[in-house]
Amino acid sequence: MESNGMPAIAQQVGGLNINDGPPKPGPFVAYELEPPPPPKINNKNLITMDVTEQFTSAAQKLELGELVKDPHFTLFESVGALEIMDSKMDSGHLEEGETMQDDYDFSKALLPEEIIGIIDQLLCHEMAWHMGYPLSQTIFTSLYIDRLLMPTPTSLEETYFDRSDSRLQKEPLTLQILRAYCLGLIKTCWFVNSRVRSEHFYEEEDFVTHTFNRSLLDRVGHEAILQLLDETVELLSGSDDIPREIKDALFSRLLFRARFLRIVEVAASRTAPGVKEMWTELQSSLPQIISSTNLGKPVPDSFSVKVQRKLASTVPPRPIVIVSQEGAFAHLERLCRDAAAALDVFEYYDSHSLFTFVSLFQARKPQPSVYVRTLLQHYLFGDMIILGTMSIRQVLDEDIANFVLPASKLLDRNNDEVEVPTDPRFIAAEKMEIFRSRAAGTYLDILRTMCQNRCRIRRTLCHTIVDWDNLQLDAEDLDQQLREFTQEEPILDRNISNEPIYAFPLSSWAYFYKLRQMEWIVQMGFELELYQPDELAAMYWYVQYLSRTRLRHLERIRTFVTRSTSTSASRLKDIGTAGGLECANAQAYNNLSTLEASANSAFADALSCLYTVLDRLGLLSKLPQPYSDDHMRYEVRMKPFLGIGLPELVPFPELTQLVTQSNENTLDILEFAAESTAAAKRALEGLAKLNAEQGFCRGSHGSWVVEVKNALKACILANITIVTVRRAVEAAGDEGKVKLKAEIPGPSARYHDWWIVPKVVPVP
């Protein structure tokens, strides 16, 4: 169908990509790749010999504990083996008197209320699958679903539940409703599964795409199923022996299923109109279903864990997953809302806004579900065309132009037209192309990484940070070579340096992104609760160190951008030209980033000081470290940065000194912390006032402001906390005990994930 060839493309993109790649199946990967087809046991080229006697007598000669094994076969591998005849491990094991099948009568007529009950239970299972549970513990436990999938049907004709002779009579309406709904459900799963599989995700960690050798109606077209759903709706409306209320409930469920199926069929299209409305419509159809769940009558017999013994599965039998109806509907509602919001990504304004959009979208709480995240990935990167309309070069050039090289002849597309190899423009175009080919992957990896789950985002950022370092070095060479073409005049300022100072635009750009990524890595550690309370002072110190480095770097970029703009001012008199716009954007983006870095560094400085004081006062709990010490832990924390040339890693002894500030008076430190929160507050207030263009958050201004305001609230709380601590310290005097208690709030008790403000309360 429409997703043919997608895995191949995802693979190509994967090539550009994230080190981790799709996980390789190892002994502990429970769901391996699709299993091979079972060999036929009656094959005339094969003969079998009964070796029971020989084998048994040979085995008896072995010593107790002696193993005969293949030299390549390891204990590690054997751990994954399923033990046959052990009912905990062997899903095929039958207890004494137990039968293989459930004796379920599929010809039995069901009450309309029971149909509602089964449908609602199936919806819970479907959402459980979306939440990450395997089909074998959810949808596949339904005997009706099992009946539809086995043997694999090739047309709707083969999907009747009742296969006895009585089926020649007309199928009862209730069973047709259930059948149409189930078919729609499975086909919906087929579309969702194909989408998820085509993108980068983590099998089992995020989602289980394994279908246990069952086909999700691959061979039945969705049109036929939609038609059956429509026909069933019509049939239902014509029937008058079902009470009104129940009839409405069945209606709303059939319509919901048809809608859901229609959406997942078009959701991956980057051009289909009205998809957003479809999601909104689906979401608004939910209350009707929710309000009628009480009419349903559960049919627990129609679900069985025994179905698992017929599934190709390398894992032990596992229980049916129970997700509450409230939980399931909440998940579905969020899915609709997030999927609709993801479509806003198509309203492209500029590369910086796109990054802001994706990062804020992924930071939603709870994080959008896997299906929505893979849709967003597809919108962004499908067919290697950004958002379906732009080349990677276009986005990359724009990002560079709107930051370090506004109105630069280096990015002039006309250079590509020059065919004389000796022409400087030809050489410049060639060098720029080298740069792009190196930078594109690393640059887009940020976006692609942000589409993963939160833990993986941090992990992958740690892996890819070294790419930025390498890119920066490569770019320095290219910057030097390109000077022949740009004829750049260096800045000669004896006050700063004896050497002439050049702009190094491309490596500046790479250095900036590297610094940003390093900040994210440390900050996401707060979000993911990686750090112990006694580490927080040092980690916040590191945030301010990185932010301050970014500030200085932004200052440098600004100097050169202003200089190049003023020299080319005559060319750019008219601000309306593309070049003029680039200059304005480059300034504006620099302003934004400067403001943001000031807020970060001031706030982080304040918190670092506050934690230092709390540590001094002995208010932070310290876990015993029987196998480690602070130094070793610091090395582990900083491992991703060990290979980074610039900014240099601060050695542990030096860091300890800078953080503990042992020669400073406690009250002075608190005084400084209070000043810092005030500075951070001013910067954050400045940010909150920016409009969408100035904040480079067009398309997501609303959530951006919320984000800034949350940081602002945290900042105000920090200030109050600092005052509380100062009063307590003053009250205690020189020798007295400070009457305070400090707690580190969990993620749900913070204003902002990245700013952990301790909760300090007085004790008597």
């Binding site: 046991i41 029971t52 040979a58 083996a81 046959i84 039968t99 090739t154 190709a312």
Partner: protein, 127 residues
């Protein structure tokens, strides 16, 4: 058969395809990887085959679908239902039969050469 011969014999079977029938009448087919003095056997890439019996099939396996179902083994040839399990360990106490599967052509060669127990590894893998 002394101990050394016994070990040689078992070694010669490594990585060959075995069919092991358990006392609940299921059969497991897979690559022989490991065994011990209790005759516990580890098979990799194993499939489970369940032969239809009158008591356990119930109404479903024998009910044929309207089409000639191609993907699923059905009643006609008494093909058992099968599924993939991956790596399994079959406890010796539950084993009722062990069969060695070989290519018909290879067996002919072997009997010609009168090789019984130990053969060079290359020959086995050349199969």
């Amino acid at each position: 058969m002394d101990k050394a011969q016994a070990e040689d014999y078992l070694h010669s079977l490594l990585n060959k395809t075995l069919r092991i029938t358990t006392d609940d009448t299921r059969m497991f087919m897979g690559r022989f990887r490991c065994t011990d003095s209790d005759r516990n056997i580890i098979l990799s890439q194993a499939f489970e085959y369940r032969f239809p019996t009158s008591s356990s099939t119930g109404n479903t396996t024998s009910s044929s679908s309207p089409s000639s179902s191609t993907s699923e083994p059905t009643e006609a040839t008494e093909e058992p239902t099968s599924r993939y399990l991956g790596q399994v360990v079959v406890p010796g106490a539950h084993i009722s039969k062990i069969e060695l599967e070989e290519f018909a052509s290879q067996v002919k060669k072997d009997t010609q050469r009168q090789v019984v127990a130990v053969r060079p590894k290359e020959v086995q893998e050349g199969v």
